[in-house]
């Protein structure tokens, strides 16, 4: 059967349409290419631990009383007159030296720890070492 010129055009047109549809079905509309996922990293510095420095201590005053065998009666009488219980917690002169030394060592340790804290703070916050 001989087809007309017009008919041949139409058949070619339909063939083309079928071919395009077939290609689309096979490629899943991906002819334009998948959009690439961009992975990027943003460096965010670690949050600062903004603790305030410890509040300085406020020491209360202690009154030392030296008691000897000569002044003991007088000291206890003075305490009674002042309305204070006539009792004293005593240490010897040698133990007083030890106490003074212990007190000095505690103070030094406190100073050392505070100093270390300041140095750490300075090192990690001032010089940009935020690890």
């Amino acid at each position: 059967m001989k087809m007309s010129h017009y008919g041949t055009y139409w058949v070619s047109f339909f063939k083309g349409v079928i071919l395009v549809l077939l290609i689309l079905a096979l490629t899943g509309c991906s002819i334009g290419g998948e959009k690439k996922i961009k992975i990027f990293s943003v460096e965010k510095p670690r949050e600062k631990l903004n603790y305030e420095m410890p509040t300085p201590l406020q020491m209360e005053e202690i009154k030392w009383i030296i008691i000897t065998s000569a002044n003991a009666d007088e000291v206890f009488k003075r305490l009674e007159d002042a309305g204070i219980d006539p009792v004293l917690f005593g240490i010897t002169d040698k133990d007083f030296q030890v106490l003074a030394r212990n007190f000095a060592q505690i103070r030094q340790k406190l100073q050392e720890t505070n100093n270390l804290l300041e140095e750490y703070k300075k090192y990690y916050e001032d010089s940009g070492n935020n690890q």
Binding site: M53, P54, T55, P56, L57, Q58, M59, E60, E61, I62, K63, W64, I65, I66, T68, A70, N71, T92, D93, K94, F96, Q97, A100, R101, F103, A104, Q105, I106, R107, Q108, L110, Q111, E112, N114, N115, L116, E119, K122, Y123, S127, G128, N129
Partner: protein
């Protein structure tokens, strides 16, 4: 015959031109890659230099901090030695002294206790008073911790 030769020559010419074009394009692509590599290398070198500089600065900061801490520890040793010396200087016996001069010793010990308490306050971060900062004479200082309490006082042996 003649037309076949002409066709072969034409094909060869077209192939040659296409090949040359592709070669030029490849060269341009290679050039772009090399330029990108060069930029990356330069960036890497700059970053490495920055890291090295930071490491140098960190090292100096650590050295400085160590030096400061060593000075502090030496001051501590000296303060303890001074404290021992105050109790034992020239065969001093504070027990015997307290029997002889009870009231004077009581005053001295109470003053010392007050000074020591102030040292604790300063060690815990308290601000210096103007008087403490101005102290330059031995009579003006806190003898329990002069290095801490009176930074402007210079001790002379």
């Amino acid at each position: 015959m003649f037309s076949s030769i002409r066709m072969v020559i034409t094909i060869l010419l077209i192939t040659g031109i296409a090949g040359a074009g592709m070669y030029v394009m490849k060269l341009r692509a290679d050039n772009a890659t090399l330029k990108a590599n060069q930029i990356k290398l330069e960036t890497a070198v700059a970053e490495q230099n920055k890291v090295l500089e930071q490491q140098k600065a960190d090292f100096e900061a650590i050295m400085e901090s160590n030096k400061k801490l060593n000075v502090l520890i030496n001051t501590f040793k000296k303060d303890l030695e001074d404290l021992d010396q105050r109790f034992t200087k020239k065969n001093r016996d504070i027990g015997k002294l307290s029997i002889k001069r009870t009231e004077a010793m009581e005053r001295i010990i109470n003053k010392g206790g007050k000074n020591a308490a102030r040292c604790i306050e300063l060690a815990s971060g308290a601000e210096h008073t103007e008087e403490e900062l101005k102290a330059t004479l031995k009579s003006q200082i806190n003898p329990e911790c002069p290095a801490l309490a009176n930074p402007n006082y210079v001790h002379h042996e």
